[in-house]
C-alpha cells in the first residue's frame, strides 16, 4: 500500500490528472463505440512521428542544459537537409533517379553537418547563460525560426515542388509525395492486425534511435555527460570537462531534432517551413515531462511513456469531443494547449526557485 502511495506521490498531481484524463478518453472512446482500429492506427503513426523529436530532449536534460526549448534549431537543420535532398533529386533528374529511401537518407546526411555545427555554437552560448538556459533557448529558437523565415525567401531552391510559381522564396508547405518520400519509413514492413495498420519501419527506426541512445549513455562519454548534468561539481572534481559535456549533449539534441523532423515529415507527407517549427519544441518538452521526466532528470522510459501518453491523448481527444457534441470542435486543440503548457508549468514549479 505504502509503495503504491509512494508511486503516486512520485508521479505528481499534474501527471495523475493527465493519466486520469487519458484513461477517461479511452473509456469514452470505447463507450461511444468509436472506431478503435482507426484510433489505434493513427495513434501508432503519431507516436512514431514524434518519437525522435521527443527523444531529442533526453541528451539535453541529461547533460544539464534542461529541456531543449531550442530544438527548433535542429528542426531547421533537418528542413535544410530535406530541401537540399529534394533539390538534388530535381537537379539530377535524367542523370540519376533517386528513390524515396535514398532521398530520405541524403536528407539526414546533409542535415548532419549543419546540426553538428549549430549544436556546437548553441552549446557554447548555453554554457555562457547557465541558470537561464530555458528562457534563452526559447528565444534563440524563436529568433532563429524568424530569421530563417527571411532565409526561406532568399535561399536558391528552384525545384518546382518547392518554389512558388511566381514571387519570391520557397512554399510554406512542401509535399514529399512526388519524390516518393512520403511514408517511406511508415510503409516499410508495415502489416495489419485486423484493421490496425502497424507502421513497422517507423517504430523500428524510433526504437533504433532509442537503442543507440541507450548504448551511448553506457559509454565513457555518456557517463561523463550524465555526471556533468547530474552534479557538475562532482563531475568537475572527477576530471570531467563539464562545459564540453554540455556541448556534447546539445549537439546530440540538435542532431536528433534534425533527424526527428525528417521522420515527422515523411510520415506527414509535407515539410512545413516558416512558422512551422516555431512551437514544435513545446510539444516535445511537454511529452517528455508527461512521461515522468523533470527539468533535471530524464530516462528513455520517460521518453517512451510520455510520447505514448501525450500523443495518444491528442489522437483520441478530438473524435471523443466531437462525439459528445459537434459544438466542441475545438476541444482537441484546447486540451492540447492546456495539458502541454500546464505540465511544463508544473515541472517548473517542481524544479523550485534559486
Amino acid at each position: 500500500m505504502k509503495t503504491v502511495l509512494d508511486f503516486l506521490k512520485n508521479l505528481g498531481l499534474a501527471r495523475l490528472i493527465i493519466l486520469g484524463f487519458f484513461v477517461f478518453l479511452c473509456a469514452a472512446a470505447i463507450l461511444l463505440r468509436l472506431n478503435l482500429a482507426e484510433l489505434l492506427t493513427s495513434s501508432l503513426a503519431r507516436i512514431g512521428m514524434w518519437g525522435v523529436l521527443v527523444l531529442a530532449m533526453l541528451p539535453a536534460i541529461v547533460s544539464g542544459i534542461g529541456p531543449n526549448f531550442g530544438v527548433s534549431l535542429g528542426i531547421l537543420c533537418g528542413l535544410v537537409g530535406g530541401l537540399t535532398s529534394l533539390e538534388m533529386a530535381y537537379r539530377l533528374e535524367g542523370v540519376v533517379e533517386l528513390g524515396g529511401g535514398a532521398l530520405f537518407f541524403i536528407a539526414i546526411l546533409v542535415s548532419m553537418p549543419f546540426a553538428v555545427m549549430t549544436g556546437i555554437g548553441y552549446g557554447w552560448l548555453l554554457n555562457r547563460v547557465k541558470g537561464s538556459e530555458m528562457m534563452i533557448a526559447t528565444y534563440v529558437g524563436f529568433s532563429v525560426v524568424s530569421i530563417m523565415k527571411l532565409a526561406w525567401l532568399f535561399l536558391p531552391y528552384s525545384s518546382p515542388e518547392m518554389a512558388w510559381p511566381i514571387g519570391r522564396g520557397v512554399r510554406v508547405q512542401i509535399s514529399l509525395a512526388n519524390r516518393g518520400i512520403t511514408r517511406i519509413l511508415n510503409d516499410f514492413l508495415s502489416f495489419r492486425i485486423g484493421d490496425v495498420v502497424v507502421p513497422t519501419g517507423l517504430l523500428l527506426f524510433v526504437a533504433l534511435c532509442c537503442f543507440l541512445m541507450w548504448l551511448f549513455l553506457r559509454s565513457k562519454t555518456g557517463t561523463a555527460m550524465y555526471a556533468a548534468g547530474d552534479n557538475p561539481r562532482f563531475a568537475e572534481a572527477a576530471g570531467v570537462n563539464v562545459n564540453r559535456q554540455r556541448i556534447v549533449g546539445t549537439i546530440l539534441s540538435t542532431v536528433l531534432g534534425a533527424v526527428g523532423i525528417l521522420v515527422y515529415a515523411q510520415s506527414y507527407g509535407f515539410m512545413q517551413l516558416y512558422e512551422g517549427p516555431m512551437f514544435m519544441p513545446f510539444v516535445a518538452v511537454a511529452a517528455v515531462l508527461i512521461g515522468g521526466a523533470s527539468v533535471k532528470r530524464a530516462t528513455i522510459t520517460h521518453v517512451v511513456v510520455g510520447t505514448i501518453l501525450f500523443l495518444g491523448i491528442q489522437v483520441v481527444a478530438i473524435p471523443v469531443a466531437n462525439a459528445f457534441t459537434a459544438d466542441w470542435s475545438s476541444m482537441g486543440e484546447i486540451s492540447r494547449k492546456i495539458i502541454q503548457n500546464g505540465v511544463i508549468l508544473y515541472a517548473l514549479t517542481q524544479a523550485g526557485g534559486d
Binding site: 565513457k220 557517463t223 561523463a224 555526471a227 572534481a237 572527477a238 576530471g239
Partner: protein, 528 residues
C-alpha cells in the same frame, strides 16, 4: 545604583534530533559592557546566537531549554523581528547591504522615515512617501558616531570592505532602542587599521551604555576590548573570566581543552623520510576558505593533519592541490612540478581526493554505488572501459566484481552494488567516497573532513580504515579536519592553518595551549 544586567541567559540548552549541541550556558551582560565569546567551531556560539535571535531553525526543531531576560524581564523570542523590537541587534559576518542603494537607504532599510501624501490617505501606509531629508540626517548622525566621513548619499557599490562593515554597524546604531549589539567575527574581513578603528568604535558605542557581545577567534582583540569573557567548548560552558584575571594563554587552553584521544597516538618518527608533496607559496581562491601563501612538506608514508578554525583556509589547501578552485603557486609531487587548476592532471599524477562536501562534490547521489566507485577511475584511467575505436562501453562485469570487493573490504552497509547512494547513511556514503579514491590507486590520498556528519561508530571505522591504508599499503595521507581530537589521534604531524597560512606544525602530543594559540593567530609558547 549598580546597573542591572541588560541581557541574561540562564541555563540554555538545545538539542537537534536527540543530539545535544548546547547545555547549561549562562551569560549575563550589563549596559556598557563588552563581553567576548570564545570557542572553536562547533563550540555552540552560533547556536547560542540563533537562540538569542529567535531564528526559525531553533523553533522548527523543537525550541530550546532555559530562559532569557532582557532588561530584567523574562522574554520569549520567537523571531528575529521580535529580537529587533527588544533592542537586540546583530552585525552580520556577511554583508547585508544592497549595492545600488545609498548609505542612507541601506541604513534605513525597511525602517524608512515616511510622510503622508494624498494617495496614502486613501491607499494606506504602504504608499506613504519616503522622507529623505530626515533619513539622511539620521544616517549622518549614525555615521558620525563611527567617525565615517563618506557622504550618506553615496551608493554602497564600490565602497571599501571596511566601510561596508561600518555601514552595517551604523544601521544598528540608528535603531533608537538598541540595547545589545552582537558582533559576529567583524574583523575577519578587515585590514589591520580598519580593525583598530572598529575596536575603537566598539569602545565608544559601549561608553554610550550599549552592551556588546563580541564573537571572534582573535584572542588578542578579545583581551584588548572585552571586560568579561565567556569560553565555550563542545556546547558547554567552560568558564567566565574577567579581563583582569586572564590572558591569551589561558583562553587558548580553555578553548581547546584536553580531550584525550580515543586511539593511541602515533609515536613514529618519520623525520628522515623524503618529502613527497611540497607546497610553496600556494594561493587558493576558494570563497570563505582562502589560502594565502602556504608552504608545507608532506613526507612519504606519513599521515599529515591540517587543522584550524573554519574560514581560515585549511579546507582550501586540498581543494587547491586538486584543481577545484583557482590556485597559484608551486606544487611538487615526488619532485615533479604539478600543473595547477586541472583536476585531471592532479589525478593523472597519482593524487586522489575525498571531498569535505560529500553530498555536493563527493557523490552522484542518484546513481548506484558501483557507478560512484568506478567513475573517476573510468574517466581518468580508462579502467573498466572496453573500447572499439571511437566507441566505448563500461564493462559491467568487472565493475560489479570491483564494487563487491570494496563493499566487503570497507564494510559498506547496503542492499547491493546497485543501490542508490542517496539511500545510504552518512558513514556508508563516506566509505563509497573513499572507495572511489582508492580505486584510482593513488600515491597520496587527500581526505577532508572524513568524519563530518557521521555517527560515532562509523567515525571509528573511517579513521581505522585510513590508518590501515597508511600502515599496510604505505599510502601517504593528508587529512584535513575541524576536529582536533581526531587529528591528534591518527596523525604524525598537524599543521595549523590561520589566516590562509600555516601558523605552525605541532606534534599530536603538544600542549593544548599551543594548539589554542596557533588557532587564534598567536605565536606558540615554544617551538614544536
Amino acid at each position: 545604583m549598580a546597573p542591572e544586567s541588560v541581557l541574561k541567559m540562564t541555563n540554555i540548552g538545545k538539542s537537534y534530533y536527540g543530539t545535544t549541541v548546547l547545555k547549561g550556558i549562562d551569560l549575563e551582560i550589563k549596559p556598557g559592557e563588552i563581553h567576548g565569546i570564545v570557542g572553536e567551531n562547533g563550540a555552540g556560539k552560533s547556536t547560542l546566537m540563533n537562540i538569542l535571535f529567535g531564528m526559525s531553525v531553533i523553533h522548527s526543531t523543537g525550541g530550546f531549554e532555559g530562559s532569557i531576560e532582557v532588561a530584567g524581564e523574562s522574554v520569549q523570542i520567537q523571531s528575529p523581528e521580535e529580537a529587533m523590537a527588544l533592542g537586540i541587534g546583530m552585525v552580520h559576518q556577511e554583508f547585508m547591504l544592497l549595492p545600488n542603494f545609498t548609505l542612507t537607504e541601506n541604513i534605513k532599510l525597511n525602517r524608512e522615515v515616511l510622510k503622508p501624501n494624498p494617495v496614502s490617505r486613501i491607499f494606506g501606509e504602504n504608499l506613504k512617501s519616503l522622507d529623505f531629508d530626515v533619513m539622511n540626517k539620521d544616517a549622518r548622525k549614525a555615521l558620525d558616531r563611527l567617525h565615517i566621513d563618506i557622504e550618506e548619499y553615496a551608493s554602497v557599490a564600490g565602497l571599501p570592505v571596511g566601510h561596508m562593515q561600518f555601514t552595517e554597524i551604523a544601521r544598528e546604531l540608528d535603531k533608537t532602542n538598541l540595547k545589545v549589539l552582537v558582533f559576529d567575527e567583524p574583523t575577519a574581513v578587515l585590514t589591520e587599521s580598519e580593525a583598530d578603528h572598529l575596536l575603537q568604535a566598539m569602545k565608544e558605542i559601549a561608553a554610550d551604555g550599549i552592551a556588546i557581545l563580541f564573537i571572534t577567534h582573535r584572542l588578542d582583540e578579545i583581551i584588548t576590548v572585552c571586560d568579561n569573557i565567556t569560553v565555550l567548548r563542545d556546547g558547554a560552558l567552560v568558564g567566565h573570566r574577567t579581563k583582569a584575571e586572564t590572558d591569551v594563554y589561558e583562553l587558548a587552553e580553555l578553548m581547546v581543552g584536553s580531550r584525550m584521544a580515543e586511539l593511541a597516538q602515533s609515536t613514529r618518527d618519520l623525520s628522515e623520510k623524503k618529502p613527497v608533496l611540497e607546497l610553496r607559496n600556494l594561493n587558493v581562491r576558494m570563497p570563505g576558505e582562502r589560502v594565502r601563501g602556504v608552504n608545507l612538506d608532506v613526507r612519504e608514508g606519513e599521515i599529515l593533519g591540517i587543522g584550524g578554525l573554519a574560514g581560515q583556509g585549511k579546507i582550501g589547501i586540498a581543494n587547491g592541490i586538486m584543481g577545484l578552485f583557482p590556485s597559484e603557486g608551486d606544487v611538487r609531487l615526488a619532485g615533479e612540478q604539478l600543473p595547477l587548476n586541472s583536476p585531471k592532471e592532479s589525478m593523472a599524477r597519482g593524487l586522489a581526493y575525498v571531498s569535505e562536501d560529500r553530498r555536493g562534490v563527493g557523490l552522484l547521489l542518484d546513481s548506484s554505488i558501483e557507478l560512484n566507485i568506478v567513475f573517476s577511475a573510468a574517466q581518468n584511467q580508462n579502467q573498466f572501459v572496453r573500447r572499439w575505436g571511437p566507441f566505448s562501453q563500461l564493462d559491467s562485469d568487472t565493475i560489479r566484481q570491483h564494487a563487491l570487493k570494496y563493499i566487503k573490504d570497507l564494510d559498506i552497509r547496503c542492499t547491493g552494488p546497485t543501490q542508490m547512494v542517496r539511500r545510504l547513511s552518512g558513514g556508508n556514503q563516506q566509505k563509497v567516497c573513499i572507495a572511489r579514491a582508492l580505486t584510482m590507486n593513488p600515491h597520496v590520498l587527500l581526505v577532508s573532513e572524513p568524519t563530518r556528519g557521521i555517527d560515532v561508530g562509523a567515525k571509528r571505522i573511517v579513521l581505522d580504515t585510513l590508518r590501515k591504508l597508511n600502515e599496510e599499503l604505505g599510502m601517504t595521507i593528508v587529512m584535513t579536519s575541524s576536529e582536533l581530537g581526531e587529528l591528534r589521534s591518527i596523525c604524525d604531524r598537524i599543521a595549523i592553518v590561520t589566516d590562509g597560512k600555516v601558523a605552525g606544525i605541532l606534534k599530536p602530543d603538544d600542549s593544548d595551549v599551543n594548539f589554542g594559540l596557533l588557532m587564534s593567530g598567536q605565536k606558540a609558547e615554544k617551538g614544536a
